[in-house]
Amino acid sequence: MKEEDVLTAKMIESGELNRWKELLRLRLTECGWRDQVRLLCRDAIKQGNLEEMTVDQLNNEVTPKARQLVPDAVKIELLTKIKTFLQENTLQESQ
């Protein structure tokens, strides 16, 4: 297995990936991002052709805007957690 796969497997197995997701979900709710994206989705649905609008289309439409709305502080917090995990796990291997 490639190194990346090993690390990804570790993230899943240790539950870290899940914790990050929950943290992110919480932060995005707190900062109002979730509500903003809800509104984006509603607008997209109102404007789009209803008969043909699928979740995928909605996803394609909204995702780029939604990504931009994620506050930097949230990204940084998450990246720090991921970095710490990677550092700890690459250190362990070299020992």
């Binding site: 190194e3 990346e4 796969d5 690390l7 990804t8 497997a9 570790k10 899943i12 197995e13 240790s14 539950g15 990936l17 899940n18 914790r19 997701k21 929950e22 943290l23 992110l24 979900r25 919480l26 709710t29 707190e30 900062c31 109002g32 979730r34 509500d35 994206v37 809800r38 989705c41 509603r42 649905i45 109102k46 209803l50 008969e51 609008m53 699928t54 979740v55 995928d56 909605l58 996803n59 909204v62 995702t63 939604a66 990246l79 991921i82 970095k83 990677l86 550092q87 690459t90």
Partner: protein, 559 residues
């Protein structure tokens, strides 16, 4: 040498972004073909503290008529067993074993990658990615339904879209809750959905109150009934406590005195909240409230000018007793285990560690508190005037500092069974939602009564992390203990607070007057001086003397 791990992490980041971040965008419930713009508004004000106030929901109730016939058929044939198993193993892992299985097997059967958007066939547990491999499997085998492993959403290939079924959604929710518990995570956020009764009520009352940013709703002066400013300012602070307001405005109080609701202080406060937020601007008279509190906290009755702090604590106590239905004056009002709204908001846990100087044995107790009283004078032991606190942070630092109890206060140590000198340290074990600080400006002794008017600065935003038990406690030299206290630290840890009310005492001990600053909406400040309410700004607030300071936790966990 050093660049290698960095390169490696960079590529993992890239993969993460590809595989998982896209899946983090939770889509709202949406069914094709029907526009769901039934926008209901029950929001009475901008939510302060995130999530707890009713948000602005889309009506997500089940759509009775259509939906995916393929999923309906699947449900009638297969029931929930397969779905639950797949969900508990590969979507929200409910055990370490499940996480191991997920790590091992959640890989596309064709391209051997973990994404993008890995799906699992609900008919034969086949893994395929969304770049074409799950689609290929579905068409080849005529297996119509697959589950997106990142969200647990069901994809129907015949409808060519994600489909919803409330029974499966409920199952998913249940499993997710188990998974969170397994990982030591807080409860998940559930958006508010109106019940059938609430839906009816909303339809019957189509007028929605919208609160604009400059609205003065919630601001009402209070008539002074003759030296009752101590009560007026506490009522102003309580009616502007975000979580308490949310509780009362959402009509959550179930009265324990059904035969005599006029006897219940909680009912009276509920009535007051309705008055405060009715939109009227006339000043209110609190005679009923005062009468009720005097009836139930007799030690307060009759005083000419009372202490606002004493009144605050007595009010919380009566409210707590009436919430739980305990009628007895005084008696058992243990707030240790209590789950009433007062204790949910105001109760924190104070840890006291007493360390024996002879054997280093630690004896730890945890006591509930509703407020923290902070000394402003010199430390009695040293009398050193340079140590006089100048800010709230100084006070808190001093409050949580280990204190040597001295030779006159020997305590029997439970470890070495002898009377020894010891050190005592207080720290925050559990933080309350509202942190109330009492600056001890009044000194009463047998010889004199005096007021300390020195300036104590206090911040608009306060982080309580440094005063938490696991941070502050440096008693345990034992490395095992230190390690375990780190493990105690909750994973999602945010102890930031913001100021929302300040009560000031102006004048002298003999001829004094109380006023309050309160925060309305997110950052509008007002000064409440009995029946007179004037606009203020945060500078006025932070420059005021400060007697009682009220801080609200910024981020709340769901319970």
């Amino acid at each position: 040498m050093q660049t290698k791990p960095n390169e490696r992490s960079a590529s993992v980041f890239a993969q993460l972004r590809f595989a998982d971040c896209s899946s983090l965008f939770t889509l709202p419930h949406y069914r094709r073909g029907v526009e769901r713009n039934t926008q209901l508004r029950i929001v009475y004000t901008k939510p302060y503290s995130v999530g707890v106030a009713a948000r602005q929901p889309l009506l997500d109730s089940e759509m009775a008529n259509d939906g995916c016939v393929h999923l309906k058929e699947y449900k009638s044939v297969k029931g929930f067993r397969t779905y639950r198993l797949i969900h508990a193993y590969f979507v929200s892992c409910t055990s370490a074993e499940a996480r191991r299985r997920k790590a091992d097997s959640c890989i596309c059967s064709i391209c051997k990658k973990r994404g993008p958007r890995l799906h699992i066939c609900l008919h034969c547990i086949y893994f395929g990615c969304y770049s074409g491999h799950i689609q290929e499997h579905a068409h080849r085998k005529q297996h119509l339904l697959a589950l997106d492993i990142s969200h647990g959403r069901i994809l129907c290939f015949a409808c060519d879209d994600y489909v919803y079924d409330s029974d499966y959604e409920n199952q998913a929710c249940e499993i997710k809750e188990i998974s969170n518990r397994n990982l030591g995570l807080p409860h998940q956020y559930k958006s508010w959905e109106p019940s059938l009764i609430e839906q009816e009520l909303l339809l019957e009352h189509p007028r929605r109150k919208r609160i604009t940013h400059d609205s003065t709703i919630g601001l009402r002066g209070l008539i002074n009934l003759g030296n009752t400013c101590f009560m007026n300012c506490i009522v102003q602070a309580l009616t502007h406590t975000p979580l308490l307001r949310d509780y009362f405005l959402s009509d959550r109080h179930v009265c324990q005195f059904s035969d005599r609701p006029d006897h219940c202080l909680v009912c009276e406060v509920a009535r007051l909240f309705q008055e405060f937020y009715s939109g009227s601007q006339e000043a209110l008279t609190l005679n009923r409230l005062l009468h009720l509190i005097w009836t139930h906290a007799r030690h307060l009755a009759g005083y000419e000018q009372q202490d606002a702090h004493e009144f605050f604590i007595a009010t919380l106590d009566v409210l707590h007793r009436h919430c739980t239905g305990a009628n007895a004056n005084g008696g058992d009002s243990n707030s240790h285990q209590c789950n009433c709204i007062i204790d949910q908001i105001f109760t924190g846990g104070l840890q006291s560690d007493v360390v024996c100087t002879s054997c280093s044995g630690v004896s730890t107790t945890i006591d509930p508190f509703w407020d923290i009283s902070l000394d402003l004078g010199t430390t009695p032991a040293t009398g050193d005037t340079s140590k006089v606190p100048k800010s709230l942070l100084d006070c808190l630092e001093r409050f949580t500092r280990p204190e040597h109890l001295g030779s006159s206060a020997k305590i029997k140590c439970s470890s070495c069974q002898s009377y020894q000198e010891s050190t005592k340290q207080l720290t925050m074990k559990k933080l309350p939602v509202v942190a109330s600080f009492h600056l001890k400006r009044f000194e009463h002794s047998s010889r004199f009564h005096k007021k300390i008017s020195s300036f104590i600065s206090f911040p608009e935003h306060l982080d309580m992390t440094p005063f938490m038990s696991h941070r502050r406690n440096n008693n345990n030299n034992n490395s095992d203990l230190a390690a375990s206290s780190v493990a105690d630290e909750p994973y999602i840890n945010d102890n930031r607070y913001s100021l929302f009310a300040v009560i000031n005492h102006v004048g002298t001990l003999e001829a004094g007057h109380y006023t309050a600053y309160i925060r309305q909406h997110r950052d509008n400040w007002f000064k409440c001086d009995d029946h007179i309410i004037t606009k203020a700004n945060i500078k006025d607030v932070l420059n005021s003397e400060g007697y009682l300071l009220f801080y609200h936790k910024q981020f709340l966990e769901y319970e």
